[in-house]
Symmetry: C2
């Protein structure tokens, strides 16, 4: 193909790209797709400039850049040539496609990649969706953002430049110290700062625990119904989640021993079972810890919302009564402050601290310093406690509104039992209802209600809806329940 033809199709684009880059790109493509062959001589920059109606500098810059990248050579004196590049490499895409159509012999994804890809989790969490009764979201509108950003601004000035380099991957030390104080005082968790690993929320902590403590193929007990995120984290790490039924004392250790006697780990939410709200009894707690000690297994204690206990102090964590160092305690600030902060933490037994620090380092080298420093100050100055006190009152009021108005407006159609803790409650439907169908019909009326069976793998409970109340004003709760009564009253 003649040089002239190669430049024939060049059309200048009227965009922000300088002309020399457009020319560079045009020649590069011509070489890559074989229009310009190895060894072919190009016109001089002067001739090319004249031909294309551009300045000579433009042509020279394009040539220089192509030479720097290895497309052209011999630029001085003797003329400019397309570099000698093995033709089979150069024209690879085109030639292969003709001679031997590429047949995908291997799957694109690894085995674990295929598992991840097949998980059916919510594909996109739309933030427009914070409306009744989407669960799992705190009262964002009542968070003291002004104070938060003031603290952040202060910390940004006082941290010093070096803090913005690479820090300790396991977390900013003052934050880990503040969490130790907070946990000791309010959760009965006893630990040292070295045992704290700051994570991107509970999800990452779950993954690290599965990765470091269990081998691929090992089994783990999960509550059923239970938190889907835990099952997904296990799948990601090739652990077999084995659903275990609940009773009024929490996860049934007896049933679990039948279901999966060889399990190496139990994932539990003892303070406030997600989503049913059952509090694990002391006797059950001791039974679980005994199992872990005997089995040399592990208990993952997810304490995602126990800060919001309305009557009295929150129940002490499992971690505090375990004497065999078999509990990994997981906490988060997503529910206490706001989810977009993406800061959680795990408390690991002393013998595991170094391995988890190491794993966090090789996983992502740690979290952003500024939000860690802001959070540390928020804890140290008692602002967290003030915020929690305010939110406890607010959430209690909102839960009461949910219980009261659902009783009044929906009666037997939706029975919401009051609960002592948390950001959500279960509304029980009449036994002959299909909660998925109800949720679907509510969804059509722009009401979000998560069907309890969506949290269930095997041990079906009565039909119910998991209803978040924390971020919704009382009027909105009442108004939404009115609309729900309309939908549910129409029968199935």
């Amino acid at each position: 193909m003649s040089i002239h033809l190669a430049f024939h199709s060049l059309e200048w684009e009227n965009n922000s790209q300088p002309k020399y880059l457009q020319l560079y790109e045009h020649i590069r493509q011509a070489i890559l797709n074989g229009q310009l062959k190895s060894g072919e001589q190009l016109p001089s920059s002067r001739a090319l400039a004249r031909q294309l109606g551009v300045s000579r500098t433009t042509a020279m810059q394009a040539f220089e850049h192509l030479a720097a990248e290895g497309y052209l050579s011999g630029h001085t004196g003797a003329g400019t040539f397309v570099s000698q590049l093995p033709p089979d490499q150069l024209s690879l895409p085109g030639v292969q496609a003709q001679e031997a159509p590429v047949i995908q012999k291997r799957p694109l994804l690894s085995r674990r990649g295929a598992v991840i890809s097949s998980l059916s989790g919510s594909k996109l969490v739309n933030r427009q969706n914070i409306k009744p009764f989407r669960p799992g979201v705190p009262a964002l509108w009542d968070f003291p953002f002004t104070q938060w950003f003031r603290l952040m601004s202060r910390q940004s000035k006082s941290l010093g430049f070096e803090a913005f380099g690479y820090g300790d991957a396991a977390g900013y030390l003052p934050l880990r110290r503040a969490i130790v104080q907070y946990l000791r005082k309010s959760r009965g968790v006893s630990c040292e700062p070295e045992q704290i690993i700051i994570t991107n929320g509970i999800q990452q902590a779950l993954g690290l625990a599965c990765q470091l403590l269990l081998n691929p193929g090992d089994s783990a007990w999960i509550e059923d119904p239970g938190y889907n995120g835990a099952r997904e984290a296990m799948n990601l790490m090739e652990i077999q989640p084995r659903p275990v039924p609940l009773d009024q004392e929490g996860i049934s250790v007896e049933a679990a021993m039948e279901v999966a006697p060889d399990a190496r780990l139990a994932y539990v939410t003892p303070s406030h079972q997600y989503p049913t709200g059952v509090v694990m009894s002391l006797s059950r707690r001791l039974e679980l810890l005994e199992w872990a000690a005997r089995q040399e297994g592990w208990v993952l204690e997810d304490d995602y919302d126990s800060e919001y206990r309305f009557n009295g102090k929150p129940l002490a964590a499992l971690q505090g009564i375990d004497r065999n160092n078999r509990v990994i305690y997981l906490g988060t600030f997503s529910k206490v402050l706001f989810p977009a902060m993406r800061l959680g933490y795990m408390v690991v037994p002393p013998a595991l601290a170094e391995a988890f620090q190491q794993a966090k380092r090789y996983t992502d080298r740690g979290n952003s310093i500024l939000e860690q420093a802001t959070l540390a100050a928020f804890l140290e100055e008692g602002q967290l406690e003030r915020h929690l006190r305010r939110m406890r009152l607010l959430y209690q009021e909102r839960q009461e509104a949910l219980v009261y108005w659902s009783g009044k407006l929906l009666g037997e159609m939706l029975r919401v039992n009051p609960s002592d803790t948390g950001l959500h409650a279960v509304g029980w439907l009449q036994p002959d209802r299909d909660d998925c169908e109800v949720a679907e019909r509510l969804w059509q009326q722009a009401i979000i209600a998560s069907p309890l069976s969506g949290y269930t793998r095997q041990y079906r409970q009565a039909p119910g809806l998991v209803m978040g109340y924390a971020p919704y004003r009382e009027e909105l709760i009442r108004e939404t329940l009115e609309r729900m009564a309309g939908v549910l009253g129409r029968g199935i």
Copy 2:
């Protein structure tokens, strides 16, 4: 044991804990360690209060809390009793320790956990260590933090409350759009926002790619010498890193085919090989892409610092000339802005986009919104380009100072070749030197110099030191080189 004895050892602590909590904790411990037995009756709250010299309210609060947690029961009228709890569960820790000493039959860590724990990476990155010639750190002192925090403050106000809920795990859409523009313009990378996954820096991106694309036990080519972080990420995901030698054109594909013909992935730094600085030739690039297409394997292109090319436009990325969708492109803002931000990104082929989005979701549900939004504005408003222009000049000056003063002060003892790109250069020692020993002796004089052999597994190069220059003023560079001359001049 008598009740009185159980309370005998109670000593009030003069700390922030209210007395009722101290009493609660004391009784709880007495029950857990068997001092108070199941079914045993406690004194009335009135009697106990008198005995201990506290108010009756204090005693009642402690009792109520213990009852709520299941330690006590029958509080109304008939008296308060220690709950019926199976003794073998309750006294488990003590009894087991006496009757059958706990023998750890299983290892604490999983197989992969043990691998992670055995990795010999730097245990603690001390931020005091930002001094010559620690590599990998940009000029933190010259970053426009004032403008950055002003942008952050603006974004914090304009984002709206809902943005602080759960967002898109793959990243804040305006940021992904801004990165697409940036890559198209300055790196020759063509992609759509859906192909971008925002990660916690390159380290997490490396892990995700290994996890999703390779099975445990698969092999991957790595450059030798090369970036240790990549090897660590592979170990974490149970991939076998296979060191491949370099030549003047970059990684030797020919040698790689000998070393590990069945490898499924190649990790490379084509724009500026880490740490030697070699730029991969066009011919080698095409050879590597051809291999990936033939093998149905993957190229991980780590483009960690190509923004800092001093002469002309940075070389176009491998991703832009690949026509078989076999390149995963990795970028980071750690070197461009500051490491503590912990934001990087990966560009994956369209067919893999959904799987990677899903994996990021189940790994940690995404990154902090505020820093993503700030970064998006920083890119959109052209501040990134302004900053890069300033830093390019600054780094070029500093590299020139390093080259000039090392020539002048150290002569043949340390030969630093000028490089077109980056934040560091290699200083070559005389052939009979041991670079580890030299680095050790410099370390004793508070000079950080990373020995090249620390980046090497198998293919030993001439002895050298990897020397960062970006964050250090010219006077500091000169003064440090003077001290180095003193150390090296003394012979081995």
